[in-house]
Amino acid sequence: MPNLTIDGRSVEVPAGTTLLEAAQRLGIYIPRYCYHPKLSVSGSCRMCLVEVEKAPKLVTACSTEAAEGMRVLTASEKVRQARRDVLEYLLINHPLDCPICDQAGECGLQDYYMDYSLRKSRFEAEDKILRQKRRAAGPYLMLDNERCILCTRCVRFCGEVTKTAELEVMERGDRSFIDLKEGRALDNGYSLNIADLCPVGAFTSRDFRFKARAWFLKRTPTICLGCATGCEIEAHHYEGTIYRLVPHPNAETNTWLCDHGRMTYKAVRAGDRLGKALIRKGLIDLEPALRETATRLEEAKGAAAVLGSPWLSVEDNAALARLAKDSVKTANYCFDFSAEQGIKDGILVNKDPAPNTAGTRTVKALYGGLSLEEFTGLLAGGKIKILITEAKAYGLVKAAAEAAGIRLIIFARNRGEAPAAAYAVLPYASYFETEGTFVNYQGLRRMTAAAVEPPQGIKPLWAVVNKLASYSGAELHLDSAPRALKDMDF
């Protein structure tokens, strides 16, 4: 455990700790481009040079290990001069096209220039080396070599994390450029992490491109519901519209975020997003649709069934359980879901595509109900006339329900999710628009947060259920999300 001092403050760190990490422990930030905590050390950008007393030269903080008695200076004139110089070198061949660059506002060159340089460039602008401007480098990424500072984070990410090694530094010297290997594309399922990793505007997201300025975006921490892994993310939004999802690195689940997860926000403002209900494929306001649904439930008394969903929050499943027990007053309900869980690609993607299989167990524990097998058998048996469930969960019983000609009441957010044969489709708020509790494959219980408002008149599913029950003459008193969790034992 070497003891060292950094800028006059002493710190004890485990053997093998680098100066950059040791400084971080003291809250001292050392600027860096090529260094990334989850990638191998490259040591080439030279931005993290610091002064070590008695060392003949400045050393890279990212690669130099702390040693007993070391005295490190991170802000001496020598260090500051080295940073100014590195920044000047980096900028001489940079196009300075910030006004049309998506990275502006969150750019390592802009930020460090303001923090560590502010020096006027002594380089003649007409002398700049020109490189290839934007070109698609895969389904999600745009590559602009002229903005690149050759930190090689992208190359190392593809080599070390996805192990797909699509990228390489071609040529040498100031002719160097990042390129795809022949015949390759960045389609490894994690490519958008490269847009996050890239400290400048060389790799940008094709999806986010030219949509919003980074400084306008508000950031809401929430959970990705793309699979049972349940990654922590941030939804970046502005004036009620989400523009992108980025990972919120945490020790429990994720540093990165997969491309599939990143695109899950698209459904929120998709063209087929339901702002009203459907009865027999015809658009109708929610209130009359609920009255109609209540009437059909009344008709079918004793022959109605309710199926929960591992795609819904614990609150919404609990609300469906209450609907079955206290409003429809039937024992024909099921909250029994199971799936093989675990990371299937060695990185993040889970074997279980549903985000809340584990969460439905708590609902089942409190409310009981049929097993999925019994429930499917019940549907196939022909005694059930009407089924209430969520669109994706319907997929689990579709064959049995179709064969028996059961009338379908489907909760769906997008028209495309709902089966064409549905009698009623009831819209509800997406989990980017409302809080919901989810339990991931590790048993971690996490909440989504409302980043944006739902479309006018659209409510959380538990609230829709509450209203449906009241049209049927039962008061469930589900007037808040926590109320839906009443009596729930996690």
């Binding site: 950008c45 030279r46 040079l49 003949p56 080295a82 980096l90 050759l150 530094v169 010297g173 100031d174």
Partner: protein
């Protein structure tokens, strides 16, 4: 003085006739530690340019029989103004092979590689033949001279990059990767070729080893001066009457090399400057050059370096701005591009020199050149940036008048 290295013994029989491979026989009767001790006594310093004590370098290899270790000979002679290793390989290849066998025995390496500059096709063919001859006689291969020591030796041709003369870039290239210097530590003595402990020595360094083992470290040290033991090959280029490769004891006055051995300046030309150790080292004015001795300490005291021993002679008909432009073009072309200061700085220097040389610069360009070079110094993974910056700064310091004339519009036009 009799030369030690520069002998014309290209085939093995001639080498035998001069007592060749006796040192290897002697070495195999010694303990590895005794050989390293002898090397330390000899004050043999690395002849590739950095001048690191060879015995000390060998002693960094973890002793003991476990694990693979490698010996690599750096024959990627690319330093402008340097052409001694080529000469050695052509004239005295068995001294290198014998030196490598001794070195490999001393450090416990069973495999050796000679990484030869790509352009050296004839030299590679000759080395391959010499290695085959040595193998046929039992000096290379399994159970060398019945000692139980195995040593395989291979040649490998580079692909033409100057940077591959940097020892860790050479290792990358030898492993089949792009030639780019590695971040140090770890140093090659602990983690070198294929991740194993490795010694990398220059051709001239290794070729000096047999004579040290045969005659003793003290004998070798006494040939030179102070901490600079032995003789050194000097490659003289430029307008002297007899340019070429000379083997002289370290400590020989540079004046003697130029005036006696090289026969003075050609056609009555006047000496203006000398770059004493290959293009990467600071330049000396004529006055400084004629007062300095050719050894590591004296040249360091004069503000330059012995380097590779590439002595570049510059007469007063040459333009220093033009010469620096030529150097900048070279280093700009050869920078590997990993480290920001080198990648961007070399090209920037070239651009400023281009406009100065063409008479289109301004007075501010001279300080700009100096400060760009200063910003590259000591800030990169390897020494290539320094190799560009050191000449640049010394040219400006010592010949500022010529730069000022160009800034004021002078055009040399050559």
């Amino acid at each position: 003085m009799e030369t030690i290295l520069l002998k014309n013994l290209p085939d093995i029989e001639a080498y035998f006739a001069c007592g060749g491979y006796k040192a290897l026989k002697k070495a195999l009767g010694l303990k590895p530690a005794e050989i390293i001790e002898e090397l330390k006594k000899s004050n043999l310093r690395g002849r590739g340019g950095a001048g690191f004590p060879a015995g000390l370098k060998w002693s960094f290899i973890p002793p003991g029989g476990q694990g693979q270790k490698y010996l690599v000979c750096n024959a990627d002679e690319g330093e402008p103004g340097t052409f001694k290793d080529r000469e050695l390989m052509l004239k005295n290849p068995h001294a290198l092979i014998e030196g490598m066998a001794i070195a490999a025995y001393a450090i416990g390496a069973a495999h050796g590689y000679i990484y030869i500059r790509g352009e050296f096709a004839a030299e590679t063919a000759l080395m391959n033949k010499a290695i085959a001859d040595a193998r046929a006689k039992g000096f290379i291969g399994r159970n060398v001279l019945g000692s139980g020591f195995d040593f395989e030796l291979f040649t490998h041709r580079g692909a033409g990059a100057y940077i591959c003369g940097e020892e860790t870039a050479l290792l990358e290239s030898l492993e089949g990767f792009k030639g780019q210097p590695r971040l140090k530590p770890p140093f090659p003595a602990l983690k070198g070729l294929f991740g194993s402990p490795t010694v990398i020595n220059n051709v001239e360094t290794l070729a000096a080893v047999p004579s040290i083992i045969e005659n003793g470290g003290a004998w070798y040290a006494a040939l030179g001066t102070g901490k600079s033991g032995g003789t050194k090959l000097f490659c003289v280029s430029g307008p002297v009457n007899r340019p070429g490769v000379y083997e002289l004891p370290l400590g020989t006055p540079l004046r003697e090399l130029l005036e006696v051995h090289c026969g003075g300046m050609k056609d009555g030309k006047k000496l203006k400057a000398v770059i004493p150790g290959g293009s990467s080292v600071p330049v000396l004015t004529a006055e400084e050059a004629l007062a300095v001795n050719l050894d590591y300490e004296a040249l360091a005291a004069a503000g330059s370096m012995l380097g590779s021993g590439g002595v570049i002679v510059i007469d007063d008909g040459q333009c220093m701005v033009k010469l620096l432009q030529v150097l900048a073009r070279f280093y700009h072309h050869e920078s590997c591009g990993q480290c920001t200061p080198c990648r961007e700085g070399c090209g920037w220097l070239e651009k400023v020199l281009d406009r100065l040389e063409a008479g289109g610069g301004s007075a501010g360009d001279i300080d700009l050149l100096y400060s760009v070079a200063e910003g590259m110094t000591g800030r990169t993974i390897c020494a290539l940036a320094d190799a560009m910056a050191m000449p640049a700064m010394s040219f400006i310091k010592k010949f500022r008048g010529e730069f000022e004339a160009h800034a004021a519009g002078k055009v040399c036009g050559n």
